[in-house]
Homo-oligomer: 328 residues x 2
């Protein structure tokens, strides 16, 4: 590995994802963490590996940072933060509102080009690694079907929807792939699967004393857009059990492409993640992507990009020669 200067990283946002990137950068000997930007009072943040800095000060870090990893949420933050920060820095984000990705890409691309910066949007695992596997699977097997199964994992959106019901004190919802459906897909059957046949939903719910459990169960399983199209189980548990057994954020899933290369010759391509911690894995992907951004900058690129545009060697700290000798 040729000696390079460390890649200087900043983080914007210090929630679960920001803390995960902090850990991943700390685990990467070729990187150094310079600052963690925050909208909160920096004095209130217990950061581990770099000082917390008020977000308004970010502009003073332009010459000190190579890549800024944007750790806000898609719903309210990244739509403005990614263009704003791409004025100052090369950036990477995990924008995941699928319907808005083309508009987000266009907005970020314009800013990136004006400022001669590189911005990789929508990194992580879905979008991100799952997208990459959809693309490669479909490119190799043009005559076939693609399936995505998610879980077993916590869906924050569904957990939040339960928490908004009167009488509910706490809740965690797991999205669970239907194993029988997944096995049919892996066997190359190329089945047509309804929403209900692909995933089921498990809810663990804490309610107020004397709450009407049957009414709450009905409200959950019949909730449109969230639960009514699925087989949903509701288990009432104590607040203690919720915090002891359901505090983690596991997730994962599979992308499966099955296709025929000639009549009756079936090929099955599958990619699978089983994650103890969704934010820590997403943070690890964003950190490897930040390394790729620094390589794209070195190669003279500017503009917005996605995982589809990144030569895979750019994710690695290892030299091209060593990669060919060791991993091919």
């Amino acid at each position: 590995m040729s000696k390079r200067s460390p890649i200087r990283i900043a983080i914007n946002g210090y929630g679960n994802l920001g803390r995960a990137v902090e850990k991943a950068v700390h685990n990467s000997p070729d990187m150094e963490l310079v600052a963690i930007f925050t909208r909160r009072d920096p004095a209130t943040l217990a950061t581990q590996h770099a000082p917390a800095v008020a977000i308004d000060e970010a502009k003073n870090y332009v010459d000190l940072v190579d890549v800024c990893v944007l750790c806000g949420g898609s719903a309210t933050d990244l739509g403005t933060q990614t263009p704003d920060f791409t004025k100052l820095f090369h950036t990477v984000d995990s924008f995941d509102t699928h319907a808005k990705i083309p508009a987000h890409f266009a907005a970020v691309d314009a800013v990136a080009r004006e400022n001669s910066h590189v911005a990789v949007i929508s990194s992580g695992w879905d979008p991100g690694l799952f997208s990459l596997n959809r693309l490669i699977g479909e490119s190799i097997l043009p005559r076939g079907e693609t399936y995505t199964f998610w879980g077993r994992g916590v869906s924050q959106g569904h957990s939040d929807a339960i928490r908004r019901i009167d009488g509910v004190v706490g809740a965690v919802q797991y999205t669970v792939p239907v194993e029988e459906a997944k096995q049919r897909v892996l066997a190359g059957e190329a089945p047509e699967l309804s929403t209900r046949e692909k995933h089921r939903r498990e809810c663990f719910v804490v309610v107020e004393e004397n709450a009407d459990q049957e009414s709450i169960r009905d409200q959950i399983v019949n909730m449109e857009n969230y639960f009514s199209d699925y087989d949903t189980t509701v288990t009432f548990i104590s607040a203690e059990e919720l915090s002891n057994n359901h505090a983690g954020m596991p997730h994962g899933g599979s992308v499966i492409r099955t296709g025929q290369t000639s009549e009756g010759v079936t090929q099955v391509y599958s990619f699978d993640l089983a994650l103890d911690s969704n934010p820590e894995f997403t943070g690890a992907v964003l950190t490897a992507t930040a390394r790729a951004v620094s390589r794209m900058v070195a190669a003279g690129q500017t503009g917005a990009y996605t995982v589809f545009d990144i030569p895979p060697a750019y994710y690695s700290p290892v030299s091209a020669e060593e990669l060919r000798a060791q991993l091919l």
Copy 2:
């Protein structure tokens, strides 16, 4: 998808792999097959979708072909064919003699640069897609272990080794991953596994009438470098059963990266192929790679490359805009 001219493909070599590429190009509406070069008498080849052409005529196709897919074997063909053909064409090969990859890369790179051509070496699934997943898995999870399991699939080298034993008329050898070991890896245990613990070998053997089966079995299971380090089963079958039940060339396997993103937080990344036909899948990968070569040429690149260097969008016939809208 913007309208592009078809990518004009030639194939060199018309064995199992050449026939597979012929099918894959035929399945790709953005490509057209121009010629199939052969060392044999072209009149003896029953090609399906393009004329067979004597290999010495290849030089007359320089202006008619965009990418030549090299379908010879690594042991005796590609070491000379890839440099020779890269003088004439942009090329892709499936060179898979791991120890010789750095030297092959250097030789092909020199020719490619001299002739302003692009050559992608060592495409396919291993090397190829498996290499890509080792690279990405290790880049995202720097603290972890990588495992490769092969099979269940036919190993030509091991089948050939059995066929060389006196009294053996025919043989097929399957490499089989040890399911218990694979499950331990997928559970994130990060076990140390010996050769014997990872794979076993199943041999289906046809012998001459009156052959000494016990002696043949002993010679197989004790054969050094091939079988002595494995648990090997030998089943004697009829020639009819061999041709009815063991004529296919299934293969596949898994690349698994497990790692910790923080103390006790285990993440499992796995990629799996289950292939009815090893050559047809390899041919499909080479064909998608030929598309990528044409994109690299259009981007002004020259030299030798591997799967590590290819932006994934280059494998796809779909435009960047559509990929972002549909697959991210």
